[in-house]
C-alpha cells in the first residue's frame, strides 16, 4: 500500500470514527432531542461509511460502489437540508419577534439560490464520461450552492440582528458551512476532471470533512455556558457613571 493510499484510507476512516464519538456525545448529553436532524445526519454518515467501505473491500470502487455512493450522497444531502432548516428553526424559537423574517429569509434565499444553481447546472454541464457520476457531481454542485448560500445567509442574518448563537447550534452551522463551501469548490472542479475521484480533490474534501467532524465534536462537548454571552453580573456592568448618563439621556428623551 502506497503512502498516498494510506493517507487516503486514514482520511476516509478517521472522520467517521469522530462522527461515532459525536453520536455518542449527543446521546450522552441528550442533544439528540435538541438537534434530531443533525443526530440523524451523523448516524447516517456512519452507516453510509460502513456500507461503502464493505462494498469497496468486496467489489472494488466501480459499479455497485458508484451506485451506492450516488444514492448515499443524495440521502445525505437531503438530511443536510433538514439540518439547515433545524438551524433556522433554532432562531425562530429563540427569537419569536424574528419568526416571520427568518421564514422569509429561508424561503427567499432558497428560491434565489435554487435559480442560480439550476442556471449554473444548465450553463456548465460538465465533461465527465460516466453519466451517473456526471449527474451526481452536477447535483452535488447545485446542492452545495444552495447549502453554502443558505448557511452564509443565516450567519449574516444573525450578525445583522446581533443574535446570540447557542454554542452547539453555532458549531453545527460552522462545520456544515465549511463543509458546504469546500464541497462547492470541489464539486465545481470535479466536473472538469476525466477520472473518478481525482486524488487531490478527494483528499482535500476528506481532510475538510475530518476538520468539520472535529469542529462538531469540539462544540458539542463544550459546556453551553462557556460560549454563551455572559449574563449581566456586576463584573460586566457598564460603569455607574455611564449608566447614569445613559439614563439621563433616556429620561430627557422620554419627557420630550
Amino acid at each position: 500500500m502506497t503512502l498516498l493510499r494510506s493517507v487516503w484510507y486514514c482520511l476516509w476512516v478517521a472522520p467517521h470514527i469522530l462522527m461515532g464519538v459525536v453520536v455518542f456525545v449527543m446521546v450522552r448529553r441528550r442533544l439528540d432531542r435538541q438537534f434530531p436532524m443533525f443526530f440523524l445526519y451523523a448516524a447516517f454518515e456512519i452507516l453510509q461509511f460502513l456500507v461503502l467501505f464493505s462494498v469497496s473491500q468486496a467489489l472494488g470502487f466501480v459499479g455497485t460502489y458508484e451506485r451506492l455512493y450516488s444514492v448515499g450522497l443524495a440521502l445525505s444531502t437531503a438530511i443536510r437540508f433538514g439540518v439547515i432548516l433545524e438551524l433556522f428553526t433554532h432562531f425562530s424559537r429563540r427569537y419569536p419577534a424574528l419568526d416571520g423574517a427568518t421564514r422569509f429569509l429561508f424561503r427567499s434565499a432558497t428560491i434565489v439560490l435554487l435559480l442560480l444553481a439550476v442556471g449554473l447546472a444548465v450553463s456548465a454541464p460538465g465533461t465527465g464520461t460516466s453519466f451517473l457520476l456526471n449527474a451526481t457531481y452536477i447535483s452535488d454542485r447545485t446542492v452545495s450552492v444552495l447549502q453554502s448560500g443558505l448557511l452564509i445567509s443565516l450567519f449574516l442574518f444573525s450578525r445583522y440582528f446581533s443574535l446570540s448563537w447557542r454554542s452547539h447550534a453555532f458549531g453545527i452551522a460552522l462545520g456544515l458551512g465549511i463543509f458546504a463551501s469546500v464541497e462547492l469548490a470541489s464539486s465545481a472542479v470535479r466536473l472538469h476532471l476525466k477520472v473518478f475521484g481525482n486524488t487531490l480533490v478527494n483528499l482535500l474534501t476528506m481532510a475538510t470533512y475530518s476538520c468539520c467532524a472535529l469542529i462538531w465534536l469540539f462544540y458539542l462537548m463544550a459546556d453551553e455556558e462557556q460560549h454563551e454571552r455572559p449574563s449581566l453580573g456586576p463584573p460586566t456592568l457598564p460603569p455607574k457613571y455611564n449608566l447614569d448618563i445613559w439614563n439621563q439621556e433616556l429620561q430627557r428623551l422620554l419627557q420630550r
Binding site: 450567519f155 446570540s164 449574563s231 447614569d244 433616556l250 428623551l253 420630550r256
Partner: protein
Amino acid sequence: MIITTILVLVSLLALSCLLWSAKTHALASNALANPAEHIRAVDIEAFRNLVDPDEEEFLRNHLPPGEFRKIQRERLRAAVDYVSCVAQNAAILVRVADAGRRSPDPATAEAAEKLVENALRLRLYAFHAIVRLYLGMIFPASRISPARIAESYEQMTRLVVMLGCLQYPTRGISAAL
C-alpha cells in the same frame, strides 16, 4: 472554466466569512465588556423633524422643485444616519438584554425578553426604513414617512430604563428617573 473559477472564488469567500464568524463568536464575550461605550446618543426630535410629512409638504410648496429635491436628499441622508445610529443601539441592546434573559429573577428575565423583542423589531424597521429612505433619495418627489422608527425607539428606551431598574435597583437609575 470561467464558472468553475467563479465558484472556487465564491467558496473561498464563503469560507473566509465563516472563519470570520467563528472568530467574532469567540470574541463576542469580550465585546460585551462595556456596551455603554458603544451606544450613541440619538436626537429623536431632530429625526422626527427630518421625516415629518408636514415639514416635507411645507418645503415642497415653498421651494423651487430643483432646490426642494436637493434639500430633501440632504434631509433624507441625515435621516439615514439617525436610523443607522438607532439600529446600532438596538443591536447593542439585543446583546445586553439577551444576557439578562437568563437572569434568575423572573421580572428581570421578562423585562429583558421584552427588550430583546422590541430591539429586534426596531432593527427590522430600521432595515426597511433605510431602504425606503434611500429610495426617497433616488426619487425625492415621492413621500417617505418612517415615523414608526421613532415610536419604536421610544418604546425600546422605556424598556431599557425598566430593565436597568430591575437589574440595578440601588445603582442610581431610579434616582435618575
